[in-house]
Amino acid sequence: MLYERFYGYALKTVFRYIYQYEHAVDVTNDGFAKFFRHFEKFKPGPPADTEKILMAYLKKIMINTAIDELRKRQMIPEIGAMPDSIWDVVDDRQDAEQHMRYKELILLIKRLAPQYRSVFNLYVIDGYNHNEIAGMLSISAGTSKSCLSRARALLQDSIRKSEKARVCRV
């Protein structure tokens, strides 16, 4: 089933934008509802590329749904601890450290203010340009660039601090 097959992919996309895990689940399901409601608009393309096109189409819907949700909440920052139960347990020891590192990086993104977080995700991870980001967030391209710059500065600072802390522990 399409829903079960792409649920994880969609949730991981939304979770980069939405702070709380349960809220991200709700937004993901909202996104799937939109996806199936307007499924007639999806054009599969050649059979070899159908899955790629479908994933790109689904990702776009999920991002738009997440952005709409953030704008509905007026981009007010959220806080609160992340319970350990939302993270997957990685059995392989070799990959475990890598996955822990990735988990920390995602948490750094989530701790950014919603506007910085959205711009960073849209530009760096999801590949939108500043004009497209400006249209999606109803801001100017200049504001988008300054938000990205600010987000990068904060993330660099956080990475340096966490690297220092790791070195001290070792």
Partner: protein, 417 residues
């Protein structure tokens, strides 16, 4: 620095695709429920959901309290109460007893004449309240006057039955006759002879109609609005509490109550009263103020004391409440890294708080058939803080409780006159 930026970008792109998030919670039913025809969004009505419930509770409590206060009977003497209770028993549901005035007087006079001699048969028909004795034979009877004061209008001439009738067997008719006799004797205020077989037996006084010495379990439902505040900093939107009540009547006037309520409290506070646990807030964040809403399951344990033994009475309650927090949502105004900002948080962890509040209430209960309706203003004084910031929230509110009377009704039926 482009080099570092490119490195960072690549690092975050890898992290975004491979980070270990749990994704096993796919639930198709949540999506299928949303796949309904899209309708135009309706404007949220002003009174919706909790607001309507809170408004209805307040309005209902005010109306109910007003009706109860308006209909509250004036204090009466014991003799008048005996007479009126006889009237209620004999003419309940607008029924008229079959006895006409003349028949009534004849029977009573006959009973009183027979009472001149000891060991009268009248004593066989029932037990008389303590202290009541047969009238002295030489004394002038005032039956007709007493009868006139308690006569039911429908008994006047025709002795017609008024309204639908309940079947009365011979035993109950003779019981009612002797009940009438006792009432008249009591109303006349004369010295009474001893008509009871067990003259030394202490019978409960008529006013002790609802003496329940064995534990009686009762249950009911409670609902009402409440206002919450922290350290007298003002109130925000009202919350509410609704749930089940379970009680046990331990003695005549004392009961122990518990229950399970769902409570929602809204509050606001300055940051100086907000004490977050370590790790609950980001480093460097200083809360300036907050407003929030919390949802709880509340388990109260109270002692209820009736100020009188009557079914309609004022009462006091006091006890403790424990909570299981279901959800907490706070909007913060905070200072972080030198800048003021607004932040929002939502917590869904189920945290227990044992004996968190001291409950004090004063209420009025009114008997309605097999049930009682109670209106009870209350205050809950916090003994410990609750929530992520250990806020001590003071609650005041009004409860409307409808509950059964338990086994008291059966014990009342056993009382004989």
């Amino acid at each position: 620095m482009p080099g570092i930026d490119d490195y960072m970008d690549e690092l975050f792109q890898k992290a975004a695709s491979d980070y270990p998030l749990k994704t096993s919670g796919a639930n198709w039913s949540k999506v299928s429920g949303k796949l309904k025809p899209v309708t135009k969004a309706r404007k949220k009505p002003v009174f919706s959901g909790y607001r309507l419930l809170a408004a209805a509770s307040v309005a209902g409590a005010v109306v109910l309290f007003g009706l109860l206060w308006y209909n509250q009977p004036a204090p009466v003497s014991e003799q008048e109460e005996l007479a009126s209770s006889f009237k209620r028993d004999s003419s309940a549901d607008k029924r008229a007893p079959e006895l006409a005035k003349t028949d009534l007087n004849k029977k009573i006079e006959g009973g009183m004449d027979a009472a001149k001699t000891p060991n009268h048969d009248a004593g066989k028909h029932g037990n008389y309240p303590a202290g009541l004795k047969a009238p002295a034979p030489a004394q002038k009877p005032v039956v007709s006057l007493a009868a006139a004061t308690i006569r039911h209008p429908s008994q006047k001439h025709s002795g017609q039955e008024a309204g639908p009738q309940k079947k009365q067997n011979n035993t109950s008719e003779s019981d009612s006759v002797h009940h009438e006799a006792v009432v008249l004797i009591a109303a006349s205020g004369r010295k009474r002879g001893d008509l009871a077989e067990k003259e030394n037996t202490k019978e409960p006084a008529p006013s002790q109609t609802f003496a329940g010495h064995s534990p009686a379990v009762y249950y009911g439902f409670a609902i009402g609005p409440q206002l919450s505040q922290v350290k007298q900093q003002g109130v925000t939107k009202p919350g509410f509490s609704a749930g089940l009540v379970l009680g046990v009547n331990m003695k005549k006037r004392v009961a122990i109550e518990t229950g399970l309520h769902f409570s929602q409290k809204s509050y606001l506070s300055g940051g100086e009263y907000f004490y977050p646990k370590p790790g609950a807030m980001p480093d460097g964040m200083h809360v300036l103020s907050l407003d929030g809403t919390s949802s709880y399951l509340e388990i109260p344990l109270n002692i209820k004391y009736n100020l009188s033994g009557k079914p309609n009475t004022l009462y006091l309650t006091s006890g403790l409440s424990s909570y299981l927090m279901i959800r907490e949502r706070n909007n913060y105004k905070a200072e972080m890294n030198g800048t003021q900002t607004q932040m929002r948080s939502s917590y869904r962890e189920m945290n227990p708080y044992t004996a968190a509040d001291l409950n004090i209430g004063v209420g009025y209960q009114h008997s309605v058939g097999k049930s009682s309706i109670r209106v009870e203003p209350f205050v809950q004084i916090p003994l410990r803080g609750t929530g992520v910031g250990s806020l001590k929230v003071l609650n005041t509110g009004l409860q409307v409780i409808i509950n059964t009377k338990g086994q008291q009704r059966q014990e009342r039926k056993k009382d004989n006159y």
